[in-house]
């Protein structure tokens, strides 16, 4: 034990400058999916030592901004597109046209090739069947259902001021209904919301734990909680699900760009794409098919049919304004 501690200290004391054949990847993929993808990457590129740090989107963004003066990472992998466009982060990136990037529809990558997204996630409700039954409620099918007074105090959703998932939910409602009607709908919804929770995954976990009947969250969280065995179903809102892309990018200050580029190229290989299809409901590159476990959780085969065609540009541009308006209306 002592030796491992000592070895750890020594390893950490070694110069931090990237060695040839070594890259550091920052990712916001969920912990278990990141580990699965990383295993494949290591098999495909045995000569590269890939160090991966996994943090939630917000924590990772704060860290990238704080490290801006001397970035420690070579690659950003699976990181919310609406956050990667934050100027403080976008400034640290370098354009790279990854091999095979043209298989991604233009809507899912940056026009100047600063980033591209191979995967994404969508808004989904986590509904606790045990609690719904106990309270004599129905399983809601849409955002419109959630304003019914019978759900009062039984719905939790993420706070858009602190959660990217929360923001895509609010922003997609405003985009699909138009601002005026959208805000008046959110006013109605607000009457039923028990809590605006400060993370995107927690509302689903709260519903899974039976604290509330409905937690507005995102698809993968719902599917995994169902797999854990919680008495829960996933509902994709009938109006169309707001969605977020998970982007990959090259860091301009990387001291090992050759390997960083190889890694980015790898994220587009058929083998990687196959793995994405095992873990993700939104994969922007064709190939693979929806795994059985997704279908049994309630995901339709053609995920495009349920996605709301999000205007990512507008969503990014309007973020500050929408958040302050949202806080003015619904907080304190």
């Amino acid at each position: 034990m002592k030796n491992t501690v000592l070895a750890g200290v020594l390893a950490a004391l070694l110069p931090t400058a990237a060695l040839a054949g070594e890259i550091t990847v920052y990712t916001a993929y969920e912990e278990d999916e990141a580990a699965a993808f990383l295993d494949l990457a290591k098999q495909a590129m045995p000569d590269i030592e890939v160090n991966m740090l996994r943090l939630s989107t917000g924590d990772l963004a704060a860290r990238i901004i704080a490290e801006k003066g001397n970035p420690q990472h070579d690659v950003i992998w699976g990181f919310a597109a609406s956050t990667i466009v934050n100027p403080e982060i976008a400034d640290t990136l370098e354009a790279y046209t990854a091999t095979g990037v043209d298989t991604i529809p233009a809507a899912f990558r940056d026009g100047d090739n600063m980033w591209f997204a191979v995967t994404g996630y969508m808004a989904a409700f986590c509904v606790n069947t045990e609690r719904v039954e106990k309270l004599g409620l129905d399983v809601p099918k849409s955002w419109a259902d959630l304003v019914d007074p019978k759900y009062k105090g039984e719905v939790v959703m993420p706070n858009p001021a602190s959660s990217g998932t929360g923001y895509i939910q609010v922003s997609s409602i405003l985009q699909m209904k138009g601002e005026e009607e959208g805000w008046s709908f959110l006013d109605q919804l607000d009457g039923n919301i028990a809590q605006y929770i400060k993370s995107g995954s927690k509302p689903c976990n709260a519903a899974a734990a039976g604290e509330y009947a409905v937690g507005a969250s995102f698809d993968m969280r719902a599917i995994k909680n169902i797999e854990e065995g919680f008495p829960m179903v996933m509902v994709i809102p009938a109006e169309g699900a707001g969605n977020e892309l998970e982007a990959n990018a090259l860091v301009a200050s990387s001291k090992n760009k050759d390997d960083a580029r190889r890694f980015l190229d790898w994220t587009l290989t058929p083998e990687a794409v196959n793995a994405y299809y095992d873990w993700k409901a939104i994969v922007t590159v064709p190939g693979g098919s929806l795994p059985e476990r997704f279908r049994s959780a309630g995901m339709p085969e053609d995920t495009n049919s349920i996605l709301y065609p999000t205007d990512f540009q507008a969503a990014g541009k309007d973020r500050d304004r929408i958040i302050s308006e949202w806080q003015r209306r619904y907080e304190n």
Binding site: M1, K2, T4, V5, G8, V9, A12, L13, P15, T16, T24, E30, E31, D32, A34, A35, N51, M52, L53, R54, L55, G58, D59, A62, R63, I65, A66, E67, G69, N70, Q72, N86, E88, I89, E130, N159, A161, S162, S163, A194, Q195, Y196, K198, S199, S201, C204, N205, A208, A209, G210, E211, R221, N225, E228, G229, F230, D320, I323, E331, N332
Partner: protein, 560 residues
């Protein structure tokens, strides 16, 4: 002092010069460390409060202070902090009194059990409360109650549990020192117990109460863990920093609120001198240790109170243990050990990392805190003011702010200490300075009670201050310091919010694994990982106990 020692000492005058230059050198060293590992990191993030969209200026301040929102948040934060401070101090004082001044049974157990909130990451404490009192928690689900923990009262409950051990440690140290002569005199004069309490006990623990009050207030007002998990829609200043920094990547606006949170430290510094002036030293050259008299009725009443409190504190770790041992809490209560085969990144390795880090933190923490306490209490150099202020400043800094400050300061290639970035030693230093105030206050509370007459007597006999320190002060103080070491160990095993920004793929610590598991909804596995952390902390306490025993200090308790 032996005759030989007196005879061999050179003239006192030279000693004074030696003493004061020695004092100055040590003071400077303490201050330099504080500047490097506290002022520069905190300064580099607070400086961001002056960087707006259009460059340097007060833009962030005008934006924050002009919105009505911030004043509501100040009101919310104050309401939570004031109520928590009153409740926590009152409950902990009575508890500490029971342990130090009555004959309640099982004192060792009672001391240990109120420390349990320090045994696991605060995340787990909050999760444990939800397992117990949540809308679908054990009470509501299995016992048919119907209450809702989320909101103001939930935060207050969680914060009282979270701050109680700190208040207890300081108050217990304050109540441990006493001079029996005062009490004997009072009894001879026919004073009633309550009058004795009011005129002797309470005034003699004034500094301890003030120190504990400051710590509890600061910890509560800067804590965002409990507010986020249990607060529901009740927003406070600390969650607003989270919104700005983590939610929106706006360091400048978050830093403004960080600056507001420094106010309690500044105010308490201004008040400290007034309180300290009235503190008498309790242990003097003529002191007699207090022997507690027998009183059945008193012991029964205090006994009932302490056992009731102990039950509340035991409930949380027990429910976490239970959740770690069932298939799926609260739906499938069949016994299962599957959550103990950790499938989180790096498996159990972070536990070993944390043990090493926690040991190092304990050792460096005790040394740095003790030297700082001595410098600020015993050395009359012009630096003692700044040192004692900086020593308590860390409680006013949210972990998130300090962690990001470390990134800004040590990741910069302009900093010669840049080599530390991404290493365990930096994590150790972060833990030491993050918990500096509590360790410092425990040490000073004890130090203040040791009379200056020792120094005077010793100096008159020709002994240097330094000699007094090693011969008199430290021998009286060392059990307290051992306890401070254990405190640092526990904090380093479980602190999360600051270290999250410093870990690298090679330097992951145990608390982060708990966060990763909790993030992905694996609450049972997170509980299992926390149980391992708790067992390690318990084992460390046991080990420390054995060390004390072997060292011959059999009657000294680790937690006072």
């Amino acid at each position: 002092m032996t005759e030989q020692a007196v005879a061999s000492t050179p003239p006192a005058r030279r000693f004074r010069i030696g003493d004061s230059s020695f004092a100055l050198v040590v003071s400077i060293a303490v201050l330099v460390m504080m500047i490097l590992f506290l002022v520069i990191p905190v300064g580099s993030i607070l400086l961001r409060s002056f960087v707006g969209a259009t460059g340097w200026g007060l833009e962030n301040y005008t934006e924050t202070l002009q919105s009505g929102r911030v004043w509501e948040l100040v009101g919310n934060s104050l309401a939570v902090a004031v109520l928590t401070t009153i409740l926590s101090l009152a409950l902990a004082y009575i508890y500490a009194y029971a342990i130090q001044r009555t004959h309640v049974l099982f004192k060792g157990f009672l001391r240990l059990v109120v420390m349990t909130p320090l045994f696991a990451p605060s995340l787990v404490q909050a999760q444990g409360l939800i397992f117990l009192f949540g809308r679908n928690g054990a009470f509501n689900r299995f016992l048919g109650f119907d209450f809702d923990i989320y909101g103001f009262w939930g935060i207050v409950l969680a914060d009282v549990l979270y701050t109680f051990p700190y208040a207890f440690l300081i108050l217990s140290a304050a109540l441990a020192a006493s001079d029996a002569r005062l009490y004997e005199g009072a009894v001879v004069m026919g004073a009633k117990p309550f009058r004795i309490f009011r005129t002797i006990t309470l005034p003699s623990t004034r500094y301890g109460i003030a120190a504990a009050g400051f710590v509890v207030f600061s910890l509560t007002i800067t804590d965002f863990g409990n507010a986020i998990v249990i607060g529901g829609d009740f927003n406070v200043l600390a969650t607003e920093i989270y919104n700005k920094v983590i939610g929106q990547g706006k360091f400048g606006l978050g830093a403004v609120i960080g600056v507001l949170l420094l106010a309690p430290a500044v105010i308490s510094k201004l008040l400290e001198r007034r309180i300290a002036k009235r503190q008498h030293a309790l242990i003097t050259d003529q002191s007699k240790p207090l022997t507690v008299r027998d009183n059945r009725r008193r012991d029964l009443i205090f006994g009932l109170y302490t056992y009731a409190v102990a039950c509340v504190f035991l409930a949380v770790p027990l429910i976490v243990l239970l959740a770690s041992l069932v298939k799926l809490w609260p739906y499938n209560l069949a016994f299962s050990l599957k959550h103990y085969s950790f499938d989180v990144q790096n498996g159990a390795q972070p536990l070993w990392n944390s043990i090493g880090v926690a040991f190092a933190t304990a050792i460096f923490g005790v040394i740095l805190v003790t030297v700082a306490a001595i410098v600020s209490q015993k050395f009359r150099t012009p630096l003692r003011g700044p040192i004692s202020f900086l020593a308590i400043l860390p409680t006013s800094i949210p972990g998130m702010v300090l962690g990001l400050g470390y990134v800004l300061a040590f990741n910069s290639t302009a900093n010669p200490l840049n080599v530390l970035y991404g290493t365990f030693p930096l994590i150790v230093l972060l833990y030491v300075y993050y918990n500096h105030a509590q360790g410092f206050l425990i040490a000073t509370t004890s130090l203040k009670q040791i009379s200056a007459t020792f120094d005077e007597a010793s100096t008159m006999l020709g002994g240097s201050q330094l000699r007094t320190l090693f011969r008199v002060t430290l021998p009286i103080l060392w059990p307290t310091l051992f306890g401070v070491g254990v405190f640092f160990f526990m904090r380093a095993m479980v602190s999360l919010s600051a270290v999250i920004f410093l870990i690298t793929p090679q330097t992951q610590v145990a608390a982060v694994s708990v966060l990763q598991l909790s993030d992905r909804g694996a609450n049972n596995q997170a509980a299992a990982f926390s149980v391992c952390i708790m067992l390690i902390v318990l084992a460390a306490l046991l080990l420390a106990r054995c060390v004390l025993w072997l060292a011959g200090a059999r009657h000294v308790s680790l937690i006072r």
